[in-house]
Amino acid sequence: MEPRLASLVLQGLKEAHVKFVVGLPDSMLAGVYAAAEKDPEIRYVGVTNEAEGASIAAGAWITGGRSVLVMENSGLRAACEALSRLGLVNGIPVTMLMGYRGDLGERFHWGVNHGITMEPILNALRIPYWIIDREDQIIPAVKRAVLHGISSLYHNAVIFRTPLVDEGK
C-alpha cells in the first residue's frame, strides 16, 4: 500500500481513537506498518505470529486501549485458536486489517491458497468483514470496523483488495 493510502488508514484509526496497532508485516500492507511505526500517536507492536498479535490487541482493548491487528490474510489461519477463544468464549473483539492475498488475478502461486481459505474461515468464525477496493472507502471502513467491535463485542475485518494494496515483487 502506497504511503498516501496508508496515511488514510492511519487517519481512520486515529479518528476512531485507536491507540495500538499490532502487526506482523507483509508486503500488501507494508506502508501501513511503516506509517504506524513512525506515528507518535500510535503504539506499534510487532509480533512473531498472529495468534499472539490477536491476544495482545485483545489485552489492550479490554483495558481501554483501542487496538487493531494488521496482517496478511494468511495470518488469519495462525490466529484462529486465539480468535476463537477471545471471541466465542470471552467476547473480546479484535478488529483486523488484512490485504487480500489470493484474490482473483493473484500473480504468485504461493498466494492463491490464502485467498481460498480466507472467507471460509471468516464465515466459520462468524466474523463480519468488508472487502474494499476504493480509496474513498478506506477511512469510513476503518472507523466503522472499530466502532462495530465496540458495539458487537466480537471480531470483524476490513480486507483491502487491489488496487489499494501492493501485490509485491
Binding site: K19, T48, A51, E52, G59, I62, T63, K143
Partner: protein, 205 residues
C-alpha cells in the same frame, strides 16, 4: 511445592490496584477461590495468556500486571517471550507455574520441561526479559514474588510445582462464572479503576 500454596502467598501480595491474568487450567479455580475480586481476567487462552497480559501492561503502564501462565501454555507460543523481551514493559511479571505436565489431559502426559534438558528461565533471559528466576520452594517463591512485580523490570519467574489440583475449595469460593461474565466483570472493574469508559452503552464514532 503445590500450586495452591504458592497462590496463597501471591494473594497476600496482590493489591486491589494490581491486575492478574490467568491461563486455562487448574490455576483458574484455585486463584478464584483465593482472589474472587474483579481484578483478575480469567482468560481462556491457550498459549496466549502472556501476550494478552502484555497488551494489558502496555496499555496501563502505571499498573502492576501479573500473568499466571503455565509450562504448556508457554511452550505453545514461545515467540511471545521474544515480543515481551522486545517491548520490555517494566510493569509486567510472568509467573510460569511449571508442573511439567499437561494436567488437564487424561494421564497427565509430560511437557517438554519434564525432560530436564530445557530451561524456560534461560529462554526468557535470552529473549530479552531482564529479571528472571526459578524457584522450587514456597519460601523462595514468596521472596521473589514480593520483589519482582515492583523492581521496575519485566519479570519472569518459573515456579516448579507438583502436579495436582486443590479440591477443597469452600462452596462459596467455587468459580461458576463463564467467560462472558468474567469479561464484563474485569472490564467494568477497569472502567472504575481507571475512570474510563471502555464500552459505552451506545457506541459512537
Amino acid at each position: 511445592m503445590k500450586r495452591y500454596e504458592l497462590l496463597k502467598e501471591l494473594a497476600k501480595l496482590v493489591t486491589d490496584q494490581d491486575l492478574v491474568i490467568t491461563s486455562i487450567g487448574g490455576v483458574k479455580p484455585e486463584w478464584y477461590s483465593l482472589m474472587p475480586g474483579n481484578g483478575t481476567m480469567f482468560a481462556d487462552l491457550l498459549g496466549c495468556a502472556t501476550p494478552f497480559s502484555l497488551g494489558v501492561a502496555l496499555n496501563l503502564p502505571h499498573r502492576r500486571v501479573i500473568a499466571l501462565d503455565t509450562d504448556g501454555g508457554m511452550l505453545f507460543n514461545l515467540g511471545a517471550l521474544c515480543t515481551v523481551g522486545k517491548e520490555a514493559p517494566p510493569n509486567l511479571t510472568i509467573i510460569v507455574l511449571d508442573n511439567e505436565r499437561y494436567e488437564g489431559v487424561v494421564g497427565s502426559p509430560a511437557t517438554h520441561t519434564a525432560s530436564g534438558r530445557m530451561d524456560l528461565e534461560r529462554i526468557a533471559a535470552a529473549a530479552g526479559i531482564s529479571s528472571t528466576g526459578t524457584v522450587k520452594t514456597t519460601e523462595n517463591f514468596a521472596a521473589l514474588a514480593a520483589t519482582m512485580p515492583s523492581d521496575g523490570q519485566t519479570g519472569l519467574m518459573v515456579a516448579k510445582i507438583e502436579p495436582g489440583i486443590f479440591r477443597d475449595v469452600p462452596p462459596d469460593r467455587v468459580k461458576e462464572s463463564d467467560g462472558i461474565e468474567d469479561k464484563y466483570r474485569f472490564m467494568r472493574h477497569i472502567e472504575q479503576l481507571e475512570k474510563i469508559s471502555i464500552r459505552p452503552r451506545y457506541a459512537r464514532e
